[in-house]
Subunit: 345 residues, 2 copies
C-alpha cells in the first residue's frame, strides 16, 4: 500500500476558484420504508450512496411526502423533484411499454432479466422509452426482487369460472391478462389494499412477496395464498433522475450513483431469496393460511390471456412491438443455455 | 438540487494537520483479463472502484505478476501483496471448508447462494474461516457467475465405467467426487490446460462457462461438451484485503470497496447469463462440438460420490461440519419457497 500526498494540489485548488461542494438530491420513493425489501431497498441505496460519496448526498423521502407516487415520473421530468426510486410499471397508464422494464408475465427470472438489461438491449430501450415519450429523465436500473406470489383470495379458486366477477388489486401487465379472464382489476397503493379487502371493495389482491405481504396483513382476511407468481417472475426497480440534474453531476458522482444502484440490485435480490420462506411457514403455522399451487389448466389460462394482451399491445404500438421482439429474441437464445445448464432441468 | 459549499471546512482541514491523501492498493488476480467474465470481472471491479473514489486507487496486476496464483492467500495475509481478487476454492488444499464459499456441488444457484452469504450466515463463516486458520485477511464477496459446464471430454461418456482411469483437470470439491468414481484429477491453471489436453497428459477438463472455455480452445481437442455443471451451479469470487491494510482505511474507503464488490456481483452474474448461449451455438455450428446431457443415472452417480465426500470432510473437520449444517438448514427452508414460487417448477 502506498500513500500519495495530494495536499499541495488540493491547497492550490482552494486558493483558486474551485471550492469543495456537496450536491444534495431530493428523492421520492414509491414504497414506504415500513415494507421490508421493497421499501428498505431505497433506504439501503441511500445509505450506501451517502457512505461512498463525500460530494453528493441523497435525501430520501417517504411516498407522498414530496409528490404522490403515481405522479413521480412527471415530477422528476419537470424538475419539481430531483429523483425517484420507483418501478416503471407504475407508469403503465402513461406508456404502453413501461412494464416491460418492470415485470413481464411468464417472463424472465432475475438473472435472465438482468442479462437482457445490462448486457443486451434492455437498458438502451428503457432510456429510449422515456426519451421518445418526452420525459426529461435519466433512468438507472436500481433493484430487482425474486418472484412474487400470485396473490391472496378470500375463496378457493379452482377454475377460470371462479375468477369471473372478482374485484382484485393487480399490478402492471398481469392486470390486463386478469381482465381478459373476467376479473375486474384496480391498482391500489400498498396502504390502501388492506382496508379495501376488509370492507369488501376487493375480493382478492396481489402485492409482492410473502414477507412483504405479511406486513400488510392480507392473511387476516384472504386465507388462500396462491403460487407461482406467473405475473411477476422478477420485478425491476429504477432510479429516475431529472435529466438536467444528471447532466450537472460530474463523472465521479454519476459513477457513484450507478455503482450504488448495481450494489442495490445484488442486496435486493439476495434479501428476497433469503427471507421469504420464513413468512410462508409462519402463514401456514400461525395465520391459518392455505398455500395453493395453480393447476396446469389455470396456468395455461393465465398464459393464454397474457398472449392475447401482448398481441394487442404490440399491434397498437410499434415501440412495444420492437422491444417485445428484442426480448423474445434474447429469451429464445437464452433457452439454449438455460434448458441444459442446470441440474434442475 | 441544492449545493452546499464546504470550502471553509476543507480549508481549515488543510491548515491543520490533515492532508488529502490517496491510498493505492496493489491487487493480484486469479484470472487473466483475456478471459471474459472470469477475468474481466477484476478489471470491471477495479475500474468501478477507481471511478467512484478520489482517495483510494486499486492497481490491478495480472495473475503471476506479483505472486503465483495459488500463493495469493499467504501473500495477502503476510502483507507482501495488499489484496487479491480470487476464489476461495483455490485454497482448498490449505483449508477443508474453503470451497463452501466458492462452489458447492449440487448446491445453490446464484440467487440462493447470495441469500445465504449476505442475509444468512454465509459471510460470517467465510471470514471466520480465515480468522480461525490464522490468515490476516479481510474477505469480501466480490463476484458470482452462472453455472459452469460439466466439462470437455475427448470421448463420449455413457457409464461410470467410462470414467474410470481418465485423467481430468477438475476444480474444488467436485474433484473429490470425481476421484471417488475412479477419475484421476488435477488442478491446472487456465493457461496450462490446453497444452495438457494436446499432449495427452489429460483426457478431459472442466474449467468454466462456454464463452470462457471457448477462449481456451478446449473444443479443438475435446469434442464432447457435457451439461449440466452439477459441480458448480454457481461460483463465488472474493476480494481478500490484508487485515492491516483494511484497518487503515477509513469508513468511506471501506464502503467504496464493499459497494464496488456488490456492484460487480450484479454485472458478473448478468454477463454470464446473457452471453453464454452464443458460444454454445458457435461450438455446435462451427466447431464440431457435440453437446451432451448427463443421463439421470450419471447424475445420480455424481451425487452419490459427492455425498460420500461431504460425509468424510464433515467427519474430519468440525468447522466444515458446522458450516455445512448451516448451509443445509438454510437450503431446507429455501425449498419451501423455491419449490412452489416459480412457473418453472
Amino acid at each position: 500500500m502506498t500513500i500519495t500526498l495530494r495536499a499541495a494540489v488540493a491547497g492550490l485548488a482552494l486558493m483558486g476558484t474551485s471550492v469543495s461542494a456537496q450536491t444534495t438530491i431530493e428523492m421520492t420513493t414509491a414504497f414506504g420504508q415500513n415494507l421490508p425489501i421493497l421499501g428498505t431497498a431505497a433506504v439501503d441505496f441511500t445509505d450506501r450512496l451517502n457512505a461512498i460519496s463525500n460530494d453528493i448526498e441523497i435525501e430520501r423521502y417517504d411516498p407522498g411526502k414530496l409528490v404522490p407516487t403515481l405522479e413521480a415520473l412527471d415530477a422528476v421530468a419537470n424538475g419539481s423533484v430531483d429523483a425517484a426510486y420507483a418501478t416503471s410499471g407504475y407508469w403503465q397508464g402513461k406508456i404502453n411499454s413501461a412494464s416491460l422494464f418492470a415485470a413481464v408475465p411468464f417472463g424472465p427470472e432475475a438473472g435472465e432479466f438482468l442479462g437482457w438489461i445490462l448486457y443486451d438491449d434492455g437498458a438502451k430501450y428503457w432510456q429510449q422509452m422515456y426519451d421518445d415519450a418526452g420525459y426529461n429523465v435519466h433512468a438507472i436500473p436500481c433493484g430487482v426482487i425474486a418472484p412474487e406470489t400470485s396473490g391472496w383470495f378470500k375463496k378457493e379458486i379452482n377454475t377460470v369460472e371462479d375468477l369471473k366477477g372478482l374485484n382484485m388489486r393487480f399490478f402492471g401487465l398481469g392486470a390486463k391478462a386478469m381482465d381478459k379472464l373476467g376479473v375486474s382489476t384496480s391498482l391500489l397503493a400498498a396502504g390502501d389494499i388492506f382496508p379495501a379487502l376488509e370492507r369488501g371493495a376487493i375480493d382478492a389482491t396481489e402485492f409482492s412477496m410473502p414477507r412483504i405481504d405479511a406486513r400488510l396483513g392480507f392473511h387476516k382476511i384472504a386465507k388462500f395464498n396462491y403460487f407461482p407468481g406467473w405475473h411477476q417472475p422478477s420485478t425491476l426497480f429504477e432510479l429516475l433522475v431529472n435529466g438536467d440534474v444528471w447532466a450537472d453531476l460530474d463523472e465521479t458522482q454519476q459513477a457513484q450513483i450507478e455503482t450504488a444502484c448495481l450494489a442495490t440490485i445484488t442486496t435486493n435480490l439476495a434479501e428476497g431469496e433469503a427471507t421469504n420462506y420464513a413468512a410462508m411457514v409462519d402463514n401456514v403455522e400461525n395465520n391459518g393460511v392455505t398455500i395453493k399451487r395453480w393447476s396446469p389448466e389455470m396456468l395455461a389460462a393465465f398464459e393464454g390471456a397474457w398472449d392475447e394482451v401482448v398481441g394487442e399491445l404490440a399491434a397498437d404500438d410499434p415501440f412495444f412491438q420492437e422491444v417485445w421482439a428484442d426480448l423474445q429474441d434474447y429469451r429464445e437464445g437464452y433457452k439454449t443455455w438455460s434448458t441444459i445448464y442446470l441440474p434442475r432441468n
